[in-house]
């Protein structure tokens, strides 16, 4: 009995075969590592009418390549293979973000594409990509064919952190990172984003120090299931600062940041905002210490 009610599973081997499936199936459900899909409380039994497209056999999506200008990471690269393949070439912020995922056991299963396309909530990988000005290659299924576009990762989400790509079926094929990174990069995760989403925070920050001035500051913060925070205003404000930043100013800026955070995202708690403020403040103090030493 059980077998006859099974969802249909399609396992294409190439992007060409994937496109044929998109032609035939109206709402394909793409399956990457399956960790998000299977950890939903209503996952099983899965609707028997669902048409699952397992991306796990498409070799083109498992490649990591590098030119002298950028790194391309295929959507089906797992977080553990990216960590081990990329030890020498990845920005440290991305290594910290990938390393923050508990256990080899989950890292081997979680994919880059699944992390970026998880529909509801931003976690480690998207938070780090947001400050690296990463781009996502999205192929939308439009009028019977795929149309590809590069979209900055930090424009893929709304302020709650939900994916914005709408109802048109799409596949993310790769993530592209430029090779110019700031010389100050930090990623901090506090608490477990899956087990304790109500207190967890994820913060990413990078900047370049030019003699005594800060430039190219990027900052993002995520609060699982609640908010995804970017602040171009804060980035601009910091990018004008001279180092070292006066301690009073560090304090003021960090409180302004937390205030702005609470104003823009009603869903986050004061506790989360204060945690984020302290982490942010510690980055500025660290920048000062490095300037003075």
């Amino acid at each position: 009995m059980e077998a006859t009610r099974s969802p249909m599973i399609h396992q294409p081997r190439t992007l060409g075969e994937l496109s044929l499936l998109f032609q035939r199936i109206e709402h394909p459900l793409l399956w990457a590592g399956g960790t998000y899909l299977m950890s939903r409380s209503d996952f099983y039994p899965f609707p028997s009418k669902a048409q699952i497209v397992d991306l796990g056999r498409i070799e083109e999506l498992k490649r990591i390549s590098r030119t002298d200008r950028h790194i391309d990471i295929g959507a089906m690269v797992t977080t553990s293979s990216l960590l081990s393949a990329g030890k020498l070439v990845l920005p440290s912020i991305l290594k910290s973000a990938l390393g923050s995922i508990i256990s080899h056991i989950t890292r081997r299963q979680i994919t880059i594409g699944g992390s970026v396309c998880e529909p509801e909530s931003r976690m480690a990988f998207s938070t780090a990509l947001a400050v690296l000005d990463a781009q996502a290659e999205i192929r939308k299924w439009d009028e019977g064919r795929f149309t590809a576009a590069w979209i900055p990762v930090n424009r893929l989400y709304d302020k709650r952190g939900a994916l914005l790509l709408g109802k048109t079926p799409f596949v993310l094929t790769k993530i592209r990172l430029g090779l110019e990174w700031g010389d100050f990069q930090r990623f901090v995760l506090i608490d477990n984003p899956i087990r304790t989403p109500d207190t967890a925070i994820l913060v990413a920050f990078q900047a370049t120090r030019n003699q005594t001035a800060l430039t190219k500051v990027r900052f993002s913060a995520s609060f699982p299931k609640r908010a995804f925070h970017l602040s171009p205003e804060l980035e601009n404000q910091l990018s004008l600062l001279n180092l070292p930043i006066h301690p009073d100013r560090v304090n003021t800026i960090s409180y302004e940041m937390a205030h702005d955070l609470m104003n823009r995202h009603e869903s986050i708690t004061e506790f989360q905002a204060e945690r984020t403020r302290r982490v942010f403040e510690s980055f500025l103090h660290e920048l000062n210490i490095q300037t003075l030493s």
Binding site: E2, A3, R5, S6, P7, M8, I9, G34, T35, M38, S39, R40, S41, F43, Y44, P45, F46, I52, D54, G56, I102, S103, H104, I105, T106, R108, Q109, N192, I194, R195
Partner: protein
């Protein structure tokens, strides 16, 4: 779907829903007694088994990814020499996990030992990153043992494993 795979050294043909989680298959279709948990996404870390010798959380692996897979649960793992390294470390420490998480914690330690043995620096010089091991151990949330105690047990078991491999 019809699924052919090997579970605890027995070749089986199961008729299961294509998306059925491996943990539920083991509980309902195979009757594995060491498999108790199915926490539906709360990441309890208490459902670890080996698939083709690699540790997985069985509640997030669907049947359709298991064609021809070789699945090993604690039921046969505990008869191996690999398991003896870990159980010896439990004995020496005078402590061991409670019955509910014994299987998963032991397989989690095994997965850490496999990673360590795969690194030439750890294997040859015995160097380990304690912080990374603690992070690995935190995958299992069962509070019966303190993480520093589990860390000591893991390092001890790693020593046994290294010595045994060295003498082979």
């Amino acid at each position: 779907m019809k699924l052919e795979c090997t579970i605890d050294s027995k070749a089986l043909t199961l008729h299961v829903n294509s998306t059925k989680p491996l943990s539920l298959m083991l509980i309902e279709d195979v009757g594995v007694k060491s498999m108790l948990s199915h926490c539906r996404g709360n990441a309890c870390g208490n459902c670890i088994v080996l698939v083709d010798d690699v540790a997985v959380l069985s509640c997030i692996v669907p049947a359709f990814r298991l064609k021809d897979a070789k699945i090993r649960t604690f039921e046969t793992f505990h008869r191996t020499r690999l398991c003896r390294d870990i159980e010896r470390a439990y004995r020496v420490s005078g402590n061991k996990p409670c019955p509910d998480c014994y299987a998963s914690k032991t397989l989690l330690i095994e997965s850490i030992l496999t990673e360590l043995m795969g690194s030439s620096r750890s294997r040859e010089e015995g160097v380990v990153d304690e912080k990374a091991i603690m992070q690995e151990l935190s995958l299992n949330t069962c509070p019966c043992m303190d993480v520093t105690e589990l860390l000591a047990i893991t390092i001890q078991a790693f020593e046994y494993r290294r010595r045994r491999r060295g003498s082979n």
